[in-house]
Amino acid sequence: MVEVRLEKLTKVFGKNTVAVNNVNLHIKDKEFTVLLGPSGCGKTTTLRCIAGLETPTSGNIYIGDRLVNDVPEKDRDVAMVFQTFALWPHMKVKDNITFPLKMRKVPKDEIQKRLKETAELLKMPHLLDRVPGQLSGGEAQRVALGRAIIRDPKVFLLDEPLANLDAKLRVHMRVEIKKLQEKLGVTTICVTHDQVEAMSMANRIAVMHQGRIRQVGIASDLYDKPEDLFVAGFIGTPPMNFVNCTYEEEKKALISEAFSLEIPKNLGKEIKEQATSPEIILGVRPQDISLHETQMPSSISAEVYAMEPLGSEAIVDLKLGDMIIKAVAPPTYKTRSGDTAWILFDMNRIHIIDKKTEKAII
């Protein structure tokens, strides 16, 4: 059982650059957890604190039951794959992979046995006598993974493991990494800014922003039930549309500059109970907007601003007053700039966010 627990973890650089701010996170045994967030949100610093490469300013880190705050990095029994792979360029691949074992003074025959097993597991026996400069991106990454797994670490830390690969290889490797983690059953923490990568690999995702964890959950929870404005906007492609509205209780409607939208009674009740003011933000995913050529009950008139055909779907940019919102339409949808489209929001999937607290109400 190797769980990783972060308790009130804080890391401040210099006098007032707060990289990680009071982070609490519990990563279960054998779980693949992804720390997801934009650049500079503190996810890599969190990972480096767990590895022991940074010293936390305050808070505790537990690996298993052991408090590791003061344990040197080499004694934490964690392995890390770096964004640039960080292979040692002057050593052959086999020396790179066996280095962790040599440092632990493992007997030579045992090293050879484990090198063979690791090379076969990662399908790279033919690469062992090369130097890192002779490897392609994908091969270098396999070597970095090999170096990480050879000593059976308790925890894997992956820092943007796919960022340096080309798009096609990235899709392939994310499956490979996931399968490898399932096979080895090692608790894994991965850092990425790519939500597709996070959603496809992780058992659970922790979304970080400005040093704080905003929400932890499985991919569908983050997509369907975002807990705040940041998560709602960060998860999903194209991103969620946000419209500033005022809730008018008498009309049971959301009033914006461009439209008035009647909402079901139960929604109105929730807004009344939970919102700190009538000022709210309506969030609608582009996938939850349907487009019609003729007026429908409760439909809103919008002007087509631009169209982006992507093959599998088309993204339509619509002008609502001064705002531009995006809608996803089937690939067969035909329209031109300047046309009028009648749009309908899927009322079961809209999100209501308190403008003041930025917390989701629905």
Binding site: A51, G52, L53, E73, K74, V78, A79, M80, F82, Q83, T84, A86, L87, W88, P89, H90, F99, P100, M103, R104, V131, P132, G133, R147, R151
Partner: protein, 252 residues
């Protein structure tokens, strides 16, 4: 110089000069070894080799260790130390000659090899170059080594030194040539003729100017004295070009 050693006395002095000797005197190169009585050419070469090699090795160790610490560790006063080292580069070498001489007297190092090996081994310029090179080695490479069990000195020995080969070769060669060719400092320090370096010994050849084939023997001795530099350059050539063209780490 190489061909002058092969010419006869009249050929050396001929006008216009003859580039290729009509009758090469190969025996001059053999005689050059015994021409100098004290120290012999061989002894002077040996003295210079001991001093130059040990000076260069010590210098490489000192400048790479100091450069590594200044490049990769953050500690109080680190910047101040670096600025102090850089400021040493602005002081002309000759202004330090007398203070350094007095220091050597105080240490009791006059007429010892220590005076030739130790002082120059802590060169500000070399430390500066090494620091600038090591700073370009990615931290992730070192972090990975730390994580997988390397000690701090192990990082220096197993990672920094092998990765700094181009810089070490360039700095090593510059200093090797400089120390090998240095005349003034060894002349001031060494009184015992037996311990003369090659340059001081060659300087002493003037005393033998009355000998019959003086000119060609001097040319042969100088040619022999230059050979170690040529060999050293050929050996380190692979890294030299890289070291001189751009002192920065590149992923191989």
């Amino acid at each position: 110089m190489t061909t002058a050693a092969l010419k006869t006395r009249t050929e050396i002095a001929s006008t216009p000069p003859r580039w290729i000797p009509s009758n090469p005197q190969w025996a001059t190169y053999v005689r050059a070894w015994t021409f100098m009585p004290n120290p012999t050419l061989l002894r002077a070469l040996l003295n210079s080799t001991i001093i130059t090699v040990s000076h260069t090795l010590l210098l490489l160790l000192a400048c790479s260790l100091t450069g590594y610490v200044l490049a990769k560790y953050k500690f109080r006063g680190e910047r101040l130390i670096f600025m102090w080292i850089v400021s040493q580069m602005m002081i002309p070498g000759f202004t330090g000659l007398i203070p350094m001489y007095l220091l050597m007297v105080w240490f009791g190092w006059i007429n010892t090899y220590w005076a030739l090996i130790i002082p120059g081994a802590f060169s500000a310029y070399s430390i500066f170059l090494m620091r600038q090179y090591i700073i370009t080695i990615p931290n992730e490479i070192l972090d990975a080594a730390r994580l997988y069990g390397c000690s701090e000195f192990g990082l220096f020995w197993r990672m920094i030194l092998p990765l700094s080969k181009p810089a070490l070769s360039a700095i090593g060669l510059i200093n090797f040539v400089w120390i090998w060719n240095d005349l003034l400092w060894p002349m001031l320090m060494i009184k015992n003729r037996e311990w003369y370096t090659i340059q001081v010994a060659l300087n002493g050849l003037f005393e033998l100017r009355t000998s019959f084939d003086y000119m060609s023997l001097v040319a042969a001795s100088i040619t022999i004295a230059t050979l170690p530099l040529v060999i050293f350059t050929i050996v380190t050539q692979k890294y030299l070009i890289k070291g001189f063209t751009g002192l920065s780490y590149t992923k191989r």
